[in-house]
């Protein structure tokens, strides 16, 4: 490693100069921080201050920069030195803004500042500026799995952007579900009548595009590698497999209609005159071929009356059927009712619904159906009784309060059953069985056949869908460079699926571009650091390979971890998991944090100055503490806060080191875990907590009180709450008494 | 020649000896002051009112109004039709809208009119007197003529239904129209903008057929006027006026209330404020006497 030169810069602005003895801080940096170059400046973030630093870099050969000023979240434009290792000691939001401006507070405030300077120097020395991941592939080809509207749209949009595409469709033809439709719901004003599906057009676009290679009757036999360098085996009908180099993957495997045979009480499977929405599309298509009259399957007589049963096997609270709403069915039934009304207004068409769900301009489509004479009845269908060529539909009329209302002599009944995602193997099988939402089919056949140690397919979220759990980041999956789009990740209609497909194409393109540059994907997008492992120290315990929330780490035949950097999201969970501490990042490691912990000056037990270590998640807890500072909310001068990438990256050694060093307590602040987790690394905070749950044993062996470690679930809005919790904890620790390890 | 001229459609209730004859009298005095010339449509007939619906059917109802249009066109060409009665105005305006929007209805109407030897060539504008006052003259012009401000009188502006819905006066809201309050202020009296019953229905024709239902609503209308400390109520509609005024006695019997509040037409307030006599304002036409106004009307005019 090239020799380094560290410089420390202490700002006097924003009241730091008045509230702190900055000369003393400079000395601390030199004496304790052992930095050769330490300066203070009146106003470090202004042009002059920044110029000073740049000058030292240019002329003094400074490689490592420690800035003692405001929070790392502030003044990022000014203190932007991407080629150099930079540490920020938070003297403003972290010290002077959370301490009272009084004589008696002055001493403890100064101590706080000095510790942060020591910590900053220690940290920066343990860092190197990330060089970027060299183990990358440069494939620019997209793999699209699924040849329906979503898949074809992804392929076309990617190709339009200038990227080659390999499209794999398991059936013998492109088109998918939409290909079987007679017509689709309109997407343009005036939203009055069913429109052409546009599938034929998409198919011809795909076929005409030399940039898109289509495999029909084909499946994915094997997916190996990482973004930028996936190697995919495509198995075709003939038995031959073709190997493709792939940069990123979009899975658009769509859905299957919920099986109406599971709804015998609604006549499912009881009569040819009870069909699902697919069944009706077929009848309508057939009619269009002929005289346009939709006929009764049982005897071919023209349909004079048809009833649509909404939410068939959906929005189910009994646990037998789908618990969710498929969103598209109301518009679909309206469309299908129009198939009848547009050809013969005399046909009685009734839609029985509980809540009619036609968002946005769907409301115009709803109105248009009413104008055409489609009858909407708010009710709950109890039973469909087919007899001979007609059926009786018994329902509870919710408006007229008629519990045994009935429609008799109904020629055709259409059950609006929902969408079931074709999402492959549910690799979190445990989660699947615990799924209280109920009877979601678990497809036994893998779709991607990933060679990943953690399983063959993309993890599912809920009810078999692969949707991201994030509201702000809908495309995030737990498999870097693999995105899902269309009804496989959330029930949706054609319009949404096409929008979704276009977005997914962008994410895939982005993933392969950044993989080539060795950059991280969301949420640490652009991060050049990546995990490095000293295999000679590894004990093959497999914790890292099991815990990685993104399945980035495989195992070689000797059970050593194989890091696929381009799959890595840089959360550091592997680092936190490693019992022998052989995993680290260039700018974030067991050492960068450990050194800071050691750097803190621990007063002896008689000083009555306890020390509390706070390890705070940088996404939520740390900003909350910053904002507490901005609001000038005071909290204890005894805490020393270190931001961590994620609670999952917290290695228990930090805690034991701290306690051994004589800290009186350790506070861990991480995001909400569990079902409604808010951790941006999905499982990070949860894994962190699981690890912590075992800390009690460690405490016992050190015979320390369990109060010495405190785990706090934190949201970014806890601006008032955090200072309260900190002060409360500080008081508790006083009660517990000083740590016995002080001064050893 | 007068500043403004209109074909006048007084309607049945405004005739001599009919329930709104006092309305007519006061309107005539008001128009004299404002230099508005109203020429009664010769041999006009009843509008059928909304309550005629059981027998009226659609076409006959419109034909009735169309006859008035035809007469107006024949005798007073080019003049807009002005009605003082809310029901007349609404009935006529509805007919106007329907005929303009349906050629069949228009043709049928013409065919029926033939029987009375009449026809329509163009649709007249049908306007309520209040519209004329606000849009053609304006508050400023109306205020100019105030020589005897109704100082210290607190008046609840009761707009009711049919001058307000479904057409209403331009720029006013259905739920909280303010033009009556403005008129009250204009004549120097004190308005009650927060009077929340201003658009409550008086029961309309149900006052005759199902008095108890109508009177329950009238009770709310009067009660709230009292709650807001009103000395009197003002309205632009003959049926509202009659219903709210003449049943107070019965309501008192039914509910043990002590209602005795005068219900006036805007035109009566204006005539008094314009310096007119009690007779000009037809104050003698009140079943519940408007003593405060009579006193003011007796006072000499400040000039």
């Amino acid at each position: 490693m090239a020799d380094i030169k560290v410089a420390a810069y202490i700002c006097k602005g924003c009241g730091l100069g008045e509230r702190l003895d900055t000369d003393a801080l400079v000395k601390t940096a030199q004496k304790d921080g052992k930095v050769p170059l330490a300066k203070s400046h009146e106003f470090l973030c202004n042009a002059d201050g920044v110029a000073m630093i740049k000058n030292d870099i240019a002329n003094e050969g400074v490689t490592h920069i420690m800035i003692g000023a405001c929070s790392r979240r502030a003044k990022t434009e000014a203190f932007h030195f991407p080629e150099h290792a930079v540490a920020r000691a938070n003297l403003r939001e972290g010290v002077v803004w959370i301490r009272p401006d009084t004589e008696e507070a002055r001493e403890t405030t100064q101590e706080m500042a000095e510790d942060y300077i020591r910590m900053g120097c220690a940290e920066v020395k343990a860092m190197t500026a990330p060089a970027g991941n060299l183990n990358t592939g440069g494939s620019k080809t997209l793999l699209v799995v699924g040849g329906g509207v979503t898949g074809m749209t992804t392929a076309i949009e990617a190709s339009k952007t200038g990227y080659p595409v390999v499209l794999v469709e398991k059936s013998g033809a492109l088109g998918g579900w939409a290909g079987k439709l007679y017509k689709r719901t309109p997407v343009h004003e005036p939203y009055k009548s069913p429109a052409d599906t546009g599938v034929a057009d998409l198919v011809s676009q795909v076929q005409a595009d030399s940039n898109i290679k289509v495999y029909l009757n084909a499946t994915i036999a094997k997916t190996d590698g990482a973004p930028g360098r996936f190697v995919v085996d495509v198995a075709t009908e003939s038995g031959a497999t073709h190997t493709e180099d792939i940069g990123a993957i979009v899975q658009a495997t769509g859905f299957t209609l919920y099986d109406m045979n599971k709804l015998p009480e609604l006549g499912g499977g009881k009569s040819p005159n009870v069909v699902d929405q697919a069944g009706l599309e077929a009848l309508a298509a057939a009619a269009a071929e002929g005289d346009g009259v939709i006929r009764r399957p049982s005897d071919g007589q023209p349909v004079k009356s048809v009833v649509f049963v909404q939410c068939a096997g959906q929005r189910d609270t009994t646990g037998q059927h789908l618990s969710y709403c498929s969103g598209f069915c109301c518009n679909a039934s309206i469309k299908q009712a129009m198939y009848f009304k547009d050809t013969n207004p005399a046909v009685d068409t009734t839609i029985i619904y509980t809540d009619l769900r036609t968002p946005g301009n769907g409301e115009d489509f709803y109105r248009s159906a009413q104008e055409k004479g489609v009858i909407f009845t708010k009710g709950k269908v109890a039973e469909v009784l087919p007899t001979g060529n007609t059926s009786t539909v018994k329902f509870n009329d919710l408006i007229l309060g008629d519990t045994d209302a009935a429609m008799v002599d109904v020629d055709l009944v259409v059950l609006a059953t929902g969408q079931v995602a074709n999402s492959g193997i549910n690799i979190d099988a445990l989660a699947a069985t615990a799924e209280e939402e109920g009877a979601v089919e678990v497809k036994p056949i893998s779709i991607l056949n990933l060679t990943y140690r953690q399983g063959k397919d993309v993890p599912q979220l809920k009810q078999g869908f692969t949707d991201s759990h994030f509201i702000c980041f809908p495309y995030e999956t737990r498999r870097t460079g693999i995105y899902t789009a269309g009804p496989v990740r959330r029930p949706m209609d054609i319009a949404q699926a096409r929008e979704d497909a276009t977005g997914a194409a962008l994410k895939a393109i982005q993933a392969l571009e950044n993989a080539e540059l060795g950059r991280a994907a969301h949420p640490r997008s652009g991060d050049l650091s990546f995990p490095k492992v000293r295999l000679e120290g590894c004990t093959q315990c497999k914790r890292c390979t099991v815990e990685c929330p993104f399945g980035a780490i495989d195992e070689d035949e000797k059970r050593f971890p194989v890091f696929n950097e381009s799959r890595c999201r840089r959360c550091g969970t592997c680092m936190g998991a490693c019992p022998v501490r052989v995993i680290s990042f260039e700018n974030y490691s067991v050492n960068t944090v450990g050194a800071q912990i050691k750097a803190v000056d621990i007063p002896d037990e008689f000083s009555e100055k306890p020390r509390i270590l706070i390890l705070a998640c940088e996404n939520d807890a740390y900003p909350a503490l910053d904002m507490a500072g901005m609001n000038r909310i005071e909290y204890s001068a005894y805490v020393r806060t270190i931001p961590v990438r994620c609670l999952g990256s917290v290695n228990t050694i930090w805690i034991t080191d701290a306690l051994n060093a004589g800290y009186d307590g350790v506070m861990l602040m991480g995001c909400k875990s569990g079902d409604e987790y808010q951790c941006h690394f999905v499982k990070g905070s949860e894994l962190g907590r699981t690890r912590l749950s075992k800390i009690d044993d460690t405490l016992k062996t050190l015979n320390l009180e369990s109060e010495r470690v405190r785990d706090l679930e934190v949201a970014i809005t806890d601006i008032e709450r955090l200072p309260e919790m900190i002060n409360k904890y500080a008081a508790e620790l006083v009660a517990v008494g000083p740590s016995p390890f002080k001064g050893f | 020649m007068a500043k403004h001229e209109y074909a006048f459609y007084p309607g049945c209730s405004s005739q001599k000896g009919a329930s709104a004859s006092n309305y007519l009298t006061s309107v005539e005095s008001m128009c004299k002051t404002l230099d508005v010339k109203l020429t009664e449509i010769p041999d006009w007939n009843c509008c059928g009112a909304s309550i005629g619906y059981a027998e009226a059917g659609e076409l006959p109802r419109h034909v009735l109004n169309a006859r008035n249009f035809a007469l107006s066109e024949q005798h007073l060409p080019g003049q807009e039709i002005v009605a003082t009665c809310a029901a007349c105005w609404l009935g006529a305006r509805e007919t106007r809208e329907r005929l303009t929007h349906s050629d069949t209805l228009m043709a049928d109407t013409r065919e029926a009119l033939k029987e009375a030897g009449l026809t329509i060539n163009e649709m007249p504008n049908v306007r309520h007197m209040v519209e004329v006052l606000i849009e053609d003259l304006g508050f400023e012009e109306m205020a100019k003529h105030v020589v005897r401000p109704l100082e210290g009188v607190k008046i609840a502006g009761y707009v009711g239904c049919q001058t307000n819905r479904p057409f209403g006066v331009a720029g006013e809201s259905f739920e909280n129209p303010v033009y009556l309050d403005k008129m009250v202020e204009m004549v120097g009296a004190e308005s009650i903008p927060e009077y929340e019953q201003k658009v409550t229905c008086c029961g309309g024709a149900l006052a005759f057929s199902e008095p108890e239902k109508a009177q329950a609503q009238i009770k709310d209308i009067v009660e709230s006027a009292y709650d807001h400390g009103a000395d009197m109520i003002v309205t632009p509609c003959p049926l509202c006026q009659a219903n709210v005024e003449i049943y107070q006695g019965q309501i008192n019997k039914r509910y043990g209330t002590k209602f005795d509040i005068p219900v006036m037409y805007y035109s009566q307030l204006m005539v008094v404020a314009y310096g007119g006599s009690a007779k000009d304002a037809a104050l003698n036409g009140q079943v519940i006497k408007a003593r405060r106004l009579e006193e003011i009307a007796a006072k000499p005019v400040k000039r």
């Binding site: - | 059928g48 059981a54 030897g117 479904p166 199902e210 009140q286």
Partner: protein, 210 residues
């Protein structure tokens, strides 16, 4: 076969179609989305409840409850206040539909016989079309005597104070009993209305036939 059974035969179970063709503004009934704003806006609704509020009537029509709808007294509660019309999010002309259904029920002779508003409505129309102008005195008298002579006197007495007030205020003229206001061209008015009825009836029957 009565008019009623005739149409019933023709439309069989499709009451909505019948309403659309036979009732003024009836083709709006299908546009209702059951939000209930009309019901909540109706002034009479909040007193002795309606049998069926407008939106419920519309649902009953769609449900083919012909008998209940046409014999219902509900429509006759309309005061023509137009609150429902201006608030309806689907812009249904509810007031007119109510009048239309009432008129149709009346036409078929299915409306409740002694429903006071039905009676008064008919009375009013006869009264105003007789001379071309309303005769308020005869109108009131007619109403009081709807349930026979004795009841008429009773009603009359009950309304005496009101009447006297009006007479004193010269807003009710006893002489109206003999003659009163009228149009000069009563013949024309009658002929014109006769024609109008003919046309309207023929159109409705045409619809029924077609």
């Amino acid at each position: 076969m009565s008019a009623n059974t005739a149409v019933a035969e023709k439309y069989r179970n499709n009451f909505l179609k019948e309403i659309e063709e036979q009732v003024e503004m009836g083709d709006w009934v299908k546009m209702c989305m059951q939000c209930g704003v009309c019901s909540g806006s109706c002034p009479t609704n909040f007193q002795s409840a309606w049998e069926h509020p407008p939106q419920e009537l519309f649902m009953m029509i769609r449900a083919g409850k012909r008998e209940e709808v046409l014999t219902s007294s509900s429509m006759w509660n309309c005061t023509s206040c137009y609150n429902c019309i201006v608030r309806c999010p689907r812009k249904l002309p509810i007031t007119h539909i109510m009048h239309g259904i009432a008129e149709y029920a009346h036409r078929l002779g299915m409306a409740p016989k002694m429903q006071p508003t039905r009676f008064f409505s008919g009375l009013f129309w006869k009264n105003c079309t007789h001379t071309g102008r309303v005769n308020e005195l005869k109108l009131s008298m007619g109403l009081y005597f709807k349930d026979g002579f004795v009841q008429g006197i009773k009603n009359g007495m009950a309304m005496q104070s009101v009447a006297l007030g009006l007479v004193k205020a010269k807003r009710l003229n006893v002489m109206e009993l003999f003659g009163g206001h009228k149009c000069k061209d009563q013949k024309g008015v009658h002929a014109m209305l006769k024609k109008a009825y003919e046309i309207e009836r023929s159109r409705k029957t045409a619809k029924m036939a077609g």
